[in-house]
Protein backbone atom coordinates (compact mmCIF):
# COMPACT_ATOMS: atom_id res chain seq x y z
CA UNK A 1 0.00 0.00 0.00
CA UNK A 2 1.22 3.49 -0.77
CA UNK A 3 1.83 5.53 2.35
CA UNK A 4 -0.34 8.63 2.36
CA UNK A 5 1.46 11.57 3.98
CA UNK A 6 -0.56 14.15 5.84
CA UNK A 7 -1.13 17.64 4.54
CA UNK A 8 0.40 20.49 6.53
CA UNK A 9 -1.18 23.28 4.49
CA UNK A 10 -4.26 23.09 2.29
CA UNK A 11 -5.50 26.09 0.37
CA UNK A 12 -8.86 25.64 -1.36
CA UNK A 13 -10.41 28.14 -3.79
CA UNK A 14 -9.07 31.08 -1.85
CA UNK A 15 -9.83 34.53 -3.15
CA UNK A 16 -8.54 37.74 -1.61
CA UNK A 17 -9.19 41.26 -2.84
CA UNK A 18 -7.46 44.31 -1.42
CA UNK A 19 -9.54 47.33 -0.36
CA UNK A 20 -8.50 49.16 -3.55
CA UNK A 21 -10.16 46.38 -5.58
CA UNK A 22 -6.99 44.67 -6.83
CA UNK A 23 -7.25 40.89 -6.73
CA UNK A 24 -4.29 39.36 -4.88
CA UNK A 25 -5.44 35.72 -4.83
CA UNK A 26 -7.82 34.39 -7.44
CA UNK A 27 -9.36 30.99 -6.60
CA UNK A 28 -6.01 29.65 -5.55
CA UNK A 29 -5.48 25.97 -4.72
CA UNK A 30 -2.45 24.21 -3.34
CA UNK A 31 -1.39 21.58 -0.86
CA UNK A 32 1.85 21.18 1.09
CA UNK A 33 2.67 17.93 2.90
CA UNK A 34 4.23 17.66 6.36
CA UNK A 35 8.03 18.07 6.37
CA UNK A 36 7.99 19.01 2.71
CA UNK A 37 10.19 21.79 1.30
CA UNK A 38 8.24 23.94 -1.09
CA UNK A 39 9.02 27.09 -3.05
CA UNK A 40 6.44 29.56 -4.24
CA UNK A 41 7.90 31.25 -7.25
CA UNK A 42 6.38 34.23 -8.95
CA UNK A 43 7.03 37.73 -10.24
CA UNK A 44 6.50 40.87 -8.18
CA UNK A 45 2.84 41.36 -7.37
CA UNK A 46 1.88 37.73 -8.05
CA UNK A 47 0.26 37.43 -4.61
CA UNK A 48 3.06 35.51 -2.89
CA UNK A 49 3.16 37.57 0.30
CA UNK A 50 -0.64 37.62 0.58
CA UNK A 51 -0.70 33.84 0.22
CA UNK A 52 1.97 33.45 2.92
CA UNK A 53 0.03 35.67 5.31
CA UNK A 54 -2.98 33.41 4.84
CA UNK A 55 -0.79 30.40 5.65
CA UNK A 56 0.50 32.13 8.80
CA UNK A 57 -3.01 32.87 10.03
CA UNK A 58 -2.43 36.61 9.80
CA UNK A 59 -5.04 37.11 7.09
CA UNK A 60 -8.26 35.11 7.00
CA UNK A 61 -9.61 34.14 3.57
CA UNK A 62 -12.49 36.25 2.24
CA UNK A 63 -13.62 33.28 0.20
CA UNK A 64 -12.51 29.64 0.19
CA UNK A 65 -10.65 27.80 2.94
CA UNK A 66 -7.14 27.54 4.31
CA UNK A 67 -6.39 24.57 6.57
CA UNK A 68 -3.20 24.45 8.65
CA UNK A 69 -2.31 21.12 10.33
CA UNK A 70 -5.96 20.11 10.14
CA UNK A 71 -7.27 23.40 11.59
CA UNK A 72 -9.21 25.75 9.34
CA UNK A 73 -7.98 29.34 9.55
CA UNK A 74 -10.75 31.30 11.24
CA UNK A 75 -11.15 33.71 14.13
CA UNK A 76 -11.39 30.83 16.60
CA UNK A 77 -8.22 29.03 15.52
CA UNK A 78 -5.87 31.83 14.50
CA UNK A 79 -4.03 32.06 17.81
CA UNK A 80 -3.36 28.34 17.90
CA UNK A 81 -2.27 28.42 14.25
CA UNK A 82 0.09 31.38 14.78
CA UNK A 83 1.77 29.40 17.54
CA UNK A 84 2.51 26.55 15.12
CA UNK A 85 3.45 28.54 12.04
CA UNK A 86 6.48 30.80 12.02
CA UNK A 87 6.68 33.44 9.34
CA UNK A 88 9.55 35.77 8.54
CA UNK A 89 8.61 38.83 6.53
CA UNK A 90 10.42 40.07 3.46
CA UNK A 91 11.69 43.20 5.15
CA UNK A 92 13.35 42.43 8.51
CA UNK A 93 12.52 45.97 9.61
CA UNK A 94 8.87 44.92 9.65
CA UNK A 95 9.72 41.78 11.58
CA UNK A 96 12.00 43.21 14.24
CA UNK A 97 10.15 45.76 16.32
CA UNK A 98 11.63 45.38 19.80
CA UNK A 99 14.42 47.56 21.13
CA UNK A 100 17.02 44.79 21.40
CA UNK A 101 17.81 41.58 19.54
CA UNK A 102 17.25 39.50 22.67
CA UNK A 103 13.81 40.94 23.38
CA UNK A 104 12.79 40.38 19.79
CA UNK A 105 13.75 36.70 19.86
CA UNK A 106 12.05 36.26 23.24
CA UNK A 107 8.87 37.99 22.03
CA UNK A 108 7.25 34.93 20.41
CA UNK A 109 7.87 32.47 23.29
CA UNK A 110 6.66 35.10 25.80
CA UNK A 111 3.44 35.43 23.85
CA UNK A 112 3.07 31.65 23.87
CA UNK A 113 2.83 32.04 27.64
CA UNK A 114 5.82 29.79 28.34
CA UNK A 115 7.55 29.81 31.73
CA UNK A 116 10.43 32.30 32.01
CA UNK A 117 13.21 29.66 32.11
CA UNK A 118 11.86 28.05 28.96
CA UNK A 119 11.69 31.47 27.23
CA UNK A 120 15.32 32.18 28.13
CA UNK A 121 16.60 28.77 26.99
CA UNK A 122 14.66 28.92 23.72
CA UNK A 123 15.91 32.43 23.02
CA UNK A 124 19.53 31.40 23.66
CA UNK A 125 19.14 28.30 21.53
CA UNK A 126 17.55 30.19 18.61
CA UNK A 127 20.32 32.81 18.64
CA UNK A 128 22.93 30.05 18.72
CA UNK A 129 21.30 28.20 15.83
CA UNK A 130 21.43 31.20 13.52
CA UNK A 131 24.96 32.02 14.65
CA UNK A 132 24.11 35.39 16.19
CA UNK A 133 25.57 35.31 19.66
CA UNK A 134 26.79 38.27 21.68
CA UNK A 135 24.30 40.59 20.00
CA UNK A 136 21.73 40.47 22.81
CA UNK A 137 21.64 44.15 23.66
CA UNK A 138 22.11 45.46 20.15
CA UNK A 139 19.19 47.46 18.79
CA UNK A 140 18.02 45.92 15.49
CA UNK A 141 18.60 49.14 13.54
CA UNK A 142 22.32 48.79 14.19
CA UNK A 143 22.59 45.40 12.44
CA UNK A 144 23.59 44.66 8.86
CA UNK A 145 20.92 43.42 6.48
CA UNK A 146 22.26 39.86 6.62
CA UNK A 147 22.32 39.90 10.43
CA UNK A 148 18.79 41.30 10.53
CA UNK A 149 17.59 38.42 8.35
CA UNK A 150 19.25 35.89 10.65
CA UNK A 151 17.71 37.51 13.73
CA UNK A 152 14.34 37.52 11.95
CA UNK A 153 14.67 33.76 11.47
CA UNK A 154 15.70 33.36 15.13
CA UNK A 155 12.56 35.23 16.25
CA UNK A 156 10.55 32.49 14.60
CA UNK A 157 12.80 29.54 15.53
CA UNK A 158 12.37 30.36 19.20
CA UNK A 159 8.67 29.55 18.81
CA UNK A 160 9.68 26.05 17.59
CA UNK A 161 7.21 26.11 14.72
CA UNK A 162 5.93 23.06 12.86
CA UNK A 163 5.75 25.11 9.68
CA UNK A 164 8.34 27.70 8.69
CA UNK A 165 7.39 30.32 6.13
CA UNK A 166 10.03 32.64 4.71
CA UNK A 167 9.20 35.53 2.41
CA UNK A 168 11.96 36.47 -0.05
CA UNK A 169 14.91 35.25 2.01
CA UNK A 170 17.51 36.38 -0.52
CA UNK A 171 16.18 39.91 -1.13
CA UNK A 172 18.64 42.77 -0.51
CA UNK A 173 21.58 40.55 0.44
CA UNK A 174 25.11 40.54 -0.88
CA UNK A 175 26.23 37.23 -2.47
CA UNK A 176 28.04 35.94 0.62
CA UNK A 177 25.22 36.76 3.05
CA UNK A 178 22.75 35.30 0.56
CA UNK A 179 24.59 31.98 0.40
CA UNK A 180 25.04 31.92 4.19
CA UNK A 181 21.33 32.40 4.66
CA UNK A 182 20.46 29.67 2.14
CA UNK A 183 22.83 27.24 3.88
CA UNK A 184 21.31 28.19 7.25
CA UNK A 185 17.76 27.53 6.05
CA UNK A 186 18.76 24.18 4.50
CA UNK A 187 20.63 23.15 7.61
CA UNK A 188 17.81 24.09 9.97
CA UNK A 189 15.25 22.25 7.86
CA UNK A 190 17.38 19.10 7.74
CA UNK A 191 17.89 19.11 11.51
CA UNK A 192 14.36 20.03 12.59
CA UNK A 193 12.40 18.68 9.60
CA UNK A 194 9.74 21.39 9.81
CA UNK A 195 7.58 22.05 6.78
CA UNK A 196 9.31 24.78 4.80
CA UNK A 197 7.60 27.27 2.50
CA UNK A 198 9.80 29.80 0.76
CA UNK A 199 8.38 32.53 -1.45
CA UNK A 200 10.79 34.12 -3.90
CA UNK A 201 11.42 35.39 -7.41
CA UNK A 202 15.06 34.33 -7.12
CA UNK A 203 15.11 31.33 -9.48
CA UNK A 204 18.65 30.42 -8.49
CA UNK A 205 17.54 29.97 -4.90
CA UNK A 206 14.69 27.54 -5.60
CA UNK A 207 16.64 24.38 -6.54
CA UNK A 208 18.79 24.82 -3.44
CA UNK A 209 16.00 24.87 -0.88
CA UNK A 210 12.90 23.25 -2.37
CA UNK A 211 11.80 19.81 -3.52
CA UNK A 212 8.62 21.07 -5.08
CA UNK A 213 7.78 24.38 -6.70
CA UNK A 214 4.55 26.24 -7.32
CA UNK A 215 4.57 28.98 -9.91
CA UNK A 216 2.22 31.78 -9.02
CA UNK A 217 1.02 34.39 -11.45
CA UNK A 218 -1.73 36.97 -10.96
CA UNK A 219 -3.03 35.20 -7.90
CA UNK A 220 -3.22 31.73 -9.41
CA UNK A 221 -1.01 28.63 -9.42
CA UNK A 222 -0.08 28.17 -13.08
CA UNK A 223 2.35 25.26 -12.64
CA UNK A 224 3.45 22.87 -9.97
CA UNK A 225 6.02 20.10 -9.71
CA UNK A 226 9.65 19.26 -8.89
CA UNK A 227 11.98 22.19 -9.62
CA UNK A 228 13.53 20.31 -12.55
CA UNK A 229 10.19 19.87 -14.31
CA UNK A 230 9.03 23.39 -13.67
CA UNK A 231 12.23 25.00 -14.87
CA UNK A 232 12.16 23.05 -18.12
CA UNK A 233 8.74 24.42 -19.04
CA UNK A 234 9.95 27.62 -20.66
CA UNK A 235 6.51 28.59 -21.86
CA UNK A 236 5.10 28.65 -18.32
CA UNK A 237 8.14 30.51 -16.98
CA UNK A 238 7.79 33.08 -19.71
CA UNK A 239 4.14 33.59 -18.88
CA UNK A 240 5.09 34.30 -15.26
CA UNK A 241 7.84 36.69 -16.42
CA UNK A 242 10.52 34.37 -15.02
CA UNK A 243 13.59 32.72 -16.43
CA UNK A 244 15.25 29.40 -15.55
CA UNK A 245 18.38 29.58 -13.34
CA UNK A 246 21.43 30.97 -15.21
CA UNK A 247 23.12 27.56 -15.24
CA UNK A 248 20.05 25.95 -16.80
CA UNK A 249 19.86 28.68 -19.44
CA UNK A 250 23.47 28.06 -20.37
CA UNK A 251 22.95 24.31 -20.71
CA UNK A 252 19.74 24.87 -22.67
CA UNK A 253 21.72 26.86 -25.22
CA UNK A 254 24.48 24.26 -25.22
CA UNK A 255 22.10 21.39 -26.00
CA UNK A 256 20.34 23.44 -28.65
CA UNK A 257 23.43 24.56 -30.54
CA UNK A 258 25.92 21.73 -30.01
CA UNK A 259 23.54 18.80 -29.60
CA UNK A 260 25.26 17.74 -26.39
CA UNK A 261 23.63 14.71 -24.78
CA UNK A 262 23.02 15.57 -21.12
CA UNK A 263 22.31 12.99 -18.47
CA UNK A 264 20.06 15.51 -16.76
CA UNK A 265 19.56 19.24 -17.03
CA UNK A 266 21.58 20.96 -14.25
CA UNK A 267 19.82 23.55 -12.07
CA UNK A 268 22.67 24.43 -9.71
CA UNK A 269 26.41 25.07 -10.07
CA UNK A 270 27.18 21.72 -8.37
CA UNK A 271 24.99 19.81 -10.77
CA UNK A 272 26.49 21.70 -13.71
CA UNK A 273 30.01 20.87 -12.53
CA UNK A 274 29.20 17.15 -12.37
CA UNK A 275 27.65 17.30 -15.84
CA UNK A 276 30.65 19.10 -17.36
CA UNK A 277 33.07 16.65 -15.70
CA UNK A 278 31.06 13.75 -17.13
CA UNK A 279 31.09 15.31 -20.59
CA UNK A 280 34.87 15.84 -20.43
CA UNK A 281 35.41 12.26 -19.27
CA UNK A 282 33.21 10.88 -22.03
CA UNK A 283 34.90 12.98 -24.65
CA UNK A 284 38.29 11.88 -23.34
CA UNK A 285 37.38 8.21 -23.43
CA UNK A 286 35.85 8.50 -26.92
CA UNK A 287 39.01 10.30 -28.10
CA UNK A 288 41.17 7.62 -26.50
CA UNK A 289 39.12 4.89 -28.11
CA UNK A 290 39.34 6.57 -31.52
CA UNK A 291 43.14 6.96 -31.14
CA UNK A 292 43.53 3.29 -30.15
CA UNK A 293 41.36 2.31 -33.15
CA UNK A 294 43.64 4.31 -35.48
CA UNK A 295 46.73 2.71 -33.92
CA UNK A 296 45.40 -0.76 -34.28
CA UNK A 297 44.47 -0.03 -37.93
CA UNK A 298 48.02 1.24 -38.62
CA UNK A 299 49.68 -1.77 -36.98
CA UNK A 300 47.58 -4.02 -39.21
Amino acid sequence: MVEVSEAAITVRDVRYTYPDGSVALDNLNLEVMKSEKVAILGPNGAGKSTLLMHMAGVLTPQQGEVTILGMPVNEKNVHQIRGKVGMTFQNPDDQLFCSTVYEDVAYGPLNLGLPRDEVVSRTREALRQVGIEGYDDRPPHRLSEGEKKKVAIATVLSMQPKIMIIDEPSANLDPKSRQELIDLIKDLQEKQSFTLVVATHDVNLVPQVADRTFILNQGRVIAEGPAREVFLDLEVLHRARLEPPSVTRLFNLLTERNAVALERMPLTIDEALREVQRLIRNQGSSRRSSISKKRSARSK
Binding site: Y102, E103, P139
Partner: protein, 273 residues
Amino acid sequence: MLEDFLKIFEDIMYFERYTGSRGVLQQVNPLVKLVSLVAIILSAVVAKAVYPLGILFIIILILCALSRIPLGYFLKRATLFIPVFAATIASPLIFITPGVSLANITIGPLTIQPTLEGLEKAALFTFRIWICVATLNLLILTTRLSQIIRSMDQLKLPRIFIILTAITYRFIFLFINEAYRMILARESRTTAKESRLQNLKSLANMFATLFVRAYEKGERVYLAMLARGFNPGTRLIDEVKIKFADWLFLATSFTILIIILSNELLPLARWLK
Protein backbone atom coordinates in the same frame (compact mmCIF):
# COMPACT_ATOMS: atom_id res chain seq x y z
CA MET B 1 20.39 72.33 6.69
CA LEU B 2 17.83 69.61 7.28
CA GLU B 3 20.51 66.95 6.88
CA ASP B 4 22.51 68.55 9.69
CA PHE B 5 19.42 68.71 11.87
CA LEU B 6 18.71 65.00 11.28
CA LYS B 7 22.29 64.08 12.11
CA ILE B 8 22.25 66.15 15.32
CA PHE B 9 18.92 64.59 16.30
CA GLU B 10 20.29 61.09 15.80
CA ASP B 11 23.35 62.01 17.81
CA ILE B 12 21.27 63.34 20.71
CA MET B 13 18.82 60.47 20.77
CA TYR B 14 21.23 57.71 20.09
CA PHE B 15 24.34 58.29 22.01
CA GLU B 16 25.79 55.25 23.65
CA ARG B 17 29.44 56.20 24.01
CA TYR B 18 29.22 56.46 27.80
CA THR B 19 26.61 53.78 28.55
CA GLY B 20 29.32 51.12 28.50
CA SER B 21 31.93 52.84 30.69
CA ARG B 22 32.30 51.76 34.29
CA GLY B 23 31.04 54.87 36.05
CA VAL B 24 28.79 54.98 39.10
CA LEU B 25 25.49 55.64 37.36
CA GLN B 26 26.23 53.04 34.70
CA GLN B 27 26.44 50.37 37.39
CA VAL B 28 23.28 51.30 39.23
CA ASN B 29 20.27 49.16 38.42
CA PRO B 30 18.34 50.96 35.62
CA LEU B 31 15.08 50.80 37.57
CA VAL B 32 16.66 52.35 40.68
CA LYS B 33 18.39 54.95 38.53
CA LEU B 34 15.15 55.85 36.75
CA VAL B 35 13.29 56.27 40.05
CA SER B 36 16.07 58.35 41.66
CA LEU B 37 16.55 60.64 38.68
CA VAL B 38 12.81 61.16 38.26
CA ALA B 39 12.78 62.07 41.98
CA ILE B 40 15.46 64.72 41.29
CA ILE B 41 13.33 66.14 38.49
CA LEU B 42 10.25 66.26 40.72
CA SER B 43 12.29 67.95 43.47
CA ALA B 44 13.47 70.58 40.99
CA VAL B 45 9.86 71.20 40.02
CA VAL B 46 8.62 71.69 43.60
CA ALA B 47 11.67 73.62 44.92
CA LYS B 48 10.68 77.25 45.48
CA ALA B 49 14.03 78.82 46.40
CA VAL B 50 17.40 79.04 44.68
CA TYR B 51 19.45 77.13 47.21
CA PRO B 52 17.76 73.66 46.78
CA LEU B 53 18.26 74.08 43.02
CA GLY B 54 21.86 75.05 43.65
CA ILE B 55 22.44 71.88 45.67
CA LEU B 56 20.77 69.79 42.96
CA PHE B 57 23.10 71.45 40.44
CA ILE B 58 26.12 70.39 42.48
CA ILE B 59 24.74 66.86 42.90
CA ILE B 60 24.24 66.58 39.14
CA LEU B 61 27.81 67.71 38.48
CA ILE B 62 29.14 65.19 41.04
CA LEU B 63 27.10 62.37 39.48
CA CYS B 64 28.36 63.41 36.06
CA ALA B 65 31.97 63.26 37.20
CA LEU B 66 31.45 59.92 38.99
CA SER B 67 29.92 58.53 35.80
CA ARG B 68 33.00 59.48 33.80
CA ILE B 69 31.20 61.83 31.46
CA PRO B 70 33.40 64.77 30.37
CA LEU B 71 32.02 67.79 32.21
CA GLY B 72 32.42 70.22 29.30
CA TYR B 73 30.55 67.91 26.96
CA PHE B 74 27.79 67.36 29.52
CA LEU B 75 27.28 71.07 30.18
CA LYS B 76 27.17 71.83 26.46
CA ARG B 77 24.64 69.08 25.86
CA ALA B 78 22.39 70.07 28.74
CA THR B 79 22.46 73.76 27.83
CA LEU B 80 21.87 73.29 24.09
CA PHE B 81 18.14 74.01 24.13
CA ILE B 82 18.12 76.37 27.12
CA PRO B 83 18.49 79.66 25.16
CA VAL B 84 15.54 78.69 22.95
CA PHE B 85 13.50 77.84 26.02
CA ALA B 86 14.48 81.02 27.86
CA ALA B 87 13.66 83.20 24.87
CA THR B 88 10.26 81.70 24.13
CA ILE B 89 8.78 80.42 27.39
CA ALA B 90 10.54 82.19 30.26
CA SER B 91 11.06 85.69 28.85
CA PRO B 92 7.42 86.89 29.15
CA LEU B 93 7.75 86.38 32.91
CA ILE B 94 10.19 89.31 33.02
CA PHE B 95 7.45 91.65 31.88
CA ILE B 96 4.26 90.26 33.41
CA THR B 97 5.51 89.86 36.99
CA PRO B 98 4.60 92.90 39.10
CA GLY B 99 7.45 94.57 41.02
CA VAL B 100 10.17 97.20 40.87
CA SER B 101 10.33 98.51 37.32
CA LEU B 102 13.78 98.47 35.71
CA ALA B 103 13.04 100.41 32.53
CA ASN B 104 10.34 101.58 30.17
CA ILE B 105 10.43 100.02 26.72
CA THR B 106 8.09 101.59 24.19
CA ILE B 107 7.19 99.67 21.07
CA GLY B 108 4.73 101.78 19.07
CA PRO B 109 1.67 102.39 21.22
CA LEU B 110 2.76 99.65 23.68
CA THR B 111 4.89 100.29 26.76
CA ILE B 112 6.33 97.33 28.67
CA GLN B 113 8.22 97.35 31.94
CA PRO B 114 10.70 94.65 32.81
CA THR B 115 10.78 94.16 36.60
CA LEU B 116 13.46 92.92 38.96
CA GLU B 117 11.10 90.30 40.38
CA GLY B 118 10.25 89.20 36.84
CA LEU B 119 13.91 88.81 35.99
CA GLU B 120 14.47 86.71 39.13
CA LYS B 121 11.45 84.55 38.37
CA ALA B 122 12.50 83.96 34.77
CA ALA B 123 16.05 83.11 35.85
CA LEU B 124 14.80 80.68 38.50
CA PHE B 125 12.41 79.09 36.02
CA THR B 126 15.17 78.64 33.44
CA PHE B 127 17.53 77.24 36.06
CA ARG B 128 14.84 74.75 37.14
CA ILE B 129 14.37 73.61 33.57
CA TRP B 130 18.13 73.29 33.18
CA ILE B 131 18.22 70.94 36.19
CA CYS B 132 15.45 68.80 34.67
CA VAL B 133 17.11 68.67 31.24
CA ALA B 134 20.51 67.92 32.76
CA THR B 135 19.05 65.09 34.88
CA LEU B 136 17.39 63.58 31.82
CA ASN B 137 20.72 63.85 30.03
CA LEU B 138 22.39 61.97 32.88
CA LEU B 139 19.82 59.21 32.46
CA ILE B 140 20.16 59.00 28.68
CA LEU B 141 23.95 59.18 28.68
CA THR B 142 24.37 56.39 31.21
CA THR B 143 21.48 54.07 30.29
CA ARG B 144 20.56 52.31 27.09
CA LEU B 145 17.05 53.16 25.98
CA SER B 146 16.12 49.48 25.98
CA GLN B 147 17.00 49.40 29.70
CA ILE B 148 14.87 52.47 30.37
CA ILE B 149 11.95 50.83 28.58
CA ARG B 150 12.43 47.64 30.59
CA SER B 151 12.46 49.66 33.80
CA MET B 152 9.23 51.40 32.82
CA ASP B 153 7.78 47.94 32.31
CA GLN B 154 8.92 46.88 35.77
CA LEU B 155 7.30 49.98 37.22
CA LYS B 156 4.07 48.60 35.72
CA LEU B 157 3.43 51.70 33.66
CA PRO B 158 0.53 51.25 31.22
CA ARG B 159 1.39 48.74 28.49
CA ILE B 160 0.29 50.98 25.65
CA PHE B 161 2.71 53.67 26.84
CA ILE B 162 5.61 51.20 26.92
CA ILE B 163 4.78 49.65 23.55
CA LEU B 164 4.54 53.12 21.99
CA THR B 165 7.87 54.20 23.48
CA ALA B 166 9.61 51.01 22.36
CA ILE B 167 8.21 51.18 18.85
CA THR B 168 9.01 54.88 18.50
CA TYR B 169 12.58 54.20 19.56
CA ARG B 170 12.84 51.28 17.15
CA PHE B 171 11.43 53.04 14.10
CA ILE B 172 12.31 56.70 14.50
CA PHE B 173 15.79 56.22 13.06
CA LEU B 174 14.44 54.15 10.23
CA PHE B 175 12.21 57.05 9.24
CA ILE B 176 14.89 59.66 9.84
CA ASN B 177 17.08 57.74 7.42
CA GLU B 178 14.17 57.36 5.03
CA ALA B 179 13.60 61.14 5.14
CA TYR B 180 17.30 61.70 4.63
CA ARG B 181 17.33 59.46 1.54
CA MET B 182 14.28 61.27 0.18
CA ILE B 183 16.01 64.62 0.63
CA LEU B 184 19.11 63.35 -1.15
CA ALA B 185 17.00 61.91 -3.98
CA ARG B 186 15.20 65.22 -4.36
CA GLU B 187 18.41 67.20 -4.31
CA SER B 188 19.94 64.94 -6.94
CA ARG B 189 17.14 66.02 -9.28
CA THR B 190 17.21 69.70 -8.36
CA THR B 191 19.29 71.46 -10.99
CA ALA B 192 18.27 75.08 -10.40
CA LYS B 193 17.85 77.07 -7.21
CA GLU B 194 14.31 76.65 -5.96
CA SER B 195 12.18 79.48 -4.70
CA ARG B 196 11.21 79.38 -1.05
CA LEU B 197 7.62 78.52 -1.96
CA GLN B 198 8.68 75.65 -4.20
CA ASN B 199 10.96 74.43 -1.48
CA LEU B 200 8.12 74.44 1.03
CA LYS B 201 5.82 72.68 -1.43
CA SER B 202 8.23 69.85 -2.09
CA LEU B 203 8.91 69.57 1.62
CA ALA B 204 5.17 69.23 2.26
CA ASN B 205 4.96 66.56 -0.42
CA MET B 206 7.84 64.73 1.17
CA PHE B 207 6.23 64.73 4.58
CA ALA B 208 2.94 63.50 3.12
CA THR B 209 4.77 60.63 1.42
CA LEU B 210 6.65 59.86 4.60
CA PHE B 211 3.39 59.80 6.50
CA VAL B 212 1.84 57.31 4.07
CA ARG B 213 4.97 55.14 4.25
CA ALA B 214 4.91 55.22 8.03
CA TYR B 215 1.26 54.22 7.99
CA GLU B 216 1.93 51.30 5.65
CA LYS B 217 4.94 50.19 7.67
CA GLY B 218 2.75 50.31 10.76
CA GLU B 219 0.30 47.93 9.08
CA ARG B 220 3.07 45.51 8.13
CA VAL B 221 4.69 45.62 11.55
CA TYR B 222 1.32 44.93 13.13
CA LEU B 223 0.85 41.90 10.89
CA ALA B 224 4.33 40.69 11.83
CA MET B 225 3.42 41.12 15.50
CA LEU B 226 0.22 39.14 14.97
CA ALA B 227 2.18 36.37 13.24
CA ARG B 228 4.17 35.98 16.44
CA GLY B 229 1.09 35.84 18.59
CA PHE B 230 0.94 39.49 19.73
CA ASN B 231 -0.67 39.78 23.14
CA PRO B 232 -0.85 43.29 24.59
CA GLY B 233 -0.55 41.95 28.12
CA THR B 234 2.84 40.26 27.67
CA ARG B 235 5.53 41.70 29.92
CA LEU B 236 9.12 42.18 28.80
CA ILE B 237 11.87 39.80 29.82
CA ASP B 238 15.15 39.84 31.71
CA GLU B 239 14.83 41.95 34.79
CA VAL B 240 18.13 42.76 36.36
CA LYS B 241 18.18 41.97 40.08
CA ILE B 242 18.28 44.90 42.49
CA LYS B 243 21.41 44.51 44.64
CA PHE B 244 22.25 45.91 48.07
CA ALA B 245 24.31 48.71 46.51
CA ASP B 246 21.26 49.74 44.47
CA TRP B 247 19.11 49.97 47.60
CA LEU B 248 21.84 52.05 49.19
CA PHE B 249 21.92 54.40 46.20
CA LEU B 250 18.12 54.75 46.31
CA ALA B 251 18.08 55.40 50.06
CA THR B 252 20.90 57.97 49.82
CA SER B 253 19.28 59.87 46.98
CA PHE B 254 15.92 60.04 48.73
CA THR B 255 17.49 61.12 52.04
CA ILE B 256 19.40 63.92 50.32
CA LEU B 257 16.33 65.05 48.40
CA ILE B 258 14.19 65.10 51.57
CA ILE B 259 16.80 67.20 53.40
CA ILE B 260 17.08 69.62 50.48
CA LEU B 261 13.34 69.98 50.24
CA SER B 262 12.70 70.22 54.01
CA ASN B 263 11.33 73.76 53.57
CA GLU B 264 8.83 72.62 50.97
CA LEU B 265 7.99 69.39 52.78
CA LEU B 266 7.47 70.81 56.29
CA PRO B 267 4.10 72.45 55.59
CA LEU B 268 2.98 69.20 53.98
CA ALA B 269 4.02 67.23 57.10
CA ARG B 270 2.18 69.69 59.32
CA TRP B 271 -0.89 69.49 57.17
CA LEU B 272 -0.81 65.67 57.33
CA LYS B 273 -0.72 65.83 61.14
